[in-house]
Symmetry: C2
Subunit: 169 residues, 2 copies
């Protein structure tokens, strides 16, 4: 598989925040406990995940009673490549892939067993293309889309997902 549950839970957490997000600048924050119950996720684990999102500046928090988290931007302005990068710490199709700087979305990608033979590793071309496809698919999806998708009646969700995926491909 590609992504761990960090990405899964983190995205679902953001969707839950995006659902409560109205146009106002600073709405009432949502507590992790409420999100954990709504999505049936372990609270203690969510704490560590949301810390990653906060460090990336995607959410902000207010402590204390009636505190919680809220988005720092409009859901339509949050693209999933940034989200997954914050949660997973990079999007690399193979262990030998390391980005030169932190962000793997635009940075140069380097295979670290480059000099083992005269003719480099032939798979580098392949993994580079795969990574490009993943990042592109992530960047084209916004949080607002996922929020809208999650509010749709279930029987139409499958067809919509397939249609959107076909549009991407």
């Amino acid at each position: 598989m590609i992504f761990t549950t960090k990405a899964e839970y983190g995205v679902r957490l953001l969707v839950e925040l995006g659902r409560q997000h109205d146009g106002a600048g600073a709405p009432t924050p949502v507590s992790l406990k409420a999100i954990a119950e709504a999505e049936a996720l372990p609270l203690a684990y969510l704490e560590r995940i949301v810390a990653l999102l906060k460090k990336a500046g995607l959410v902000e928090s207010t402590r204390g009673a009636h505190g919680g988290y809220r988005l720092t931007r409009q859901p339509a302005e949050i693209h999933m490549d940034e989200v997954v990068l914050a949660l997973e710490g990079g999007v690399a199709p193979m262990t030998c892939f390391v980005a030169e700087d932190g962000s793997s979305s635009h940075g140069r990608v380097v295979c670290n067993h480059e000099a083992d033979a005269g003719h480099g590793c032939a798979t580098k071309l392949l993994w580079t293309r795969v990574q490009g496809g993943v990042v592109k698919a992530l960047a084209q999806t916004t949080l607002a889309e996922l929020v809208a998708f999650s509010n749709r009646p279930p029987q139409t969700q499958t067809a919509t997902a397939v249609r959107n995926a076909a549009a991407v491909a």
Copy 2:
């Protein structure tokens, strides 16, 4: 990361076979030992990997002395989606993704915690798009391309890889 070393080693193995592959129908087979030495990979591990490729019909073998493996098709006719599918047993971006039939390239994809809540999982749309991007990138790459890439002088490889990746994206 996305893929394990099974995919990495398997692709490199195929590249090595493709390099020896001339136009003739049944050329002299290449032994695993030769490939293991050329690519500096553990022989015993390669045995298990090549078994997957054989089961998928991508290579055929002759046993006994001076035996080995050879491709069943021209390198230009071997697309990487089929290869990775054979090696990794499916291309799923998340554990909850399972294909209805064996092949994940065209089969319908289903999230197995579909019915846990009223509003399905919002991440399904995202993972479907990601998987589409990966499969597309794999399907667009043939073994012949990788063979040609691996024979190129090293100093031009990086620039070429980036250019090709940009063309895909």
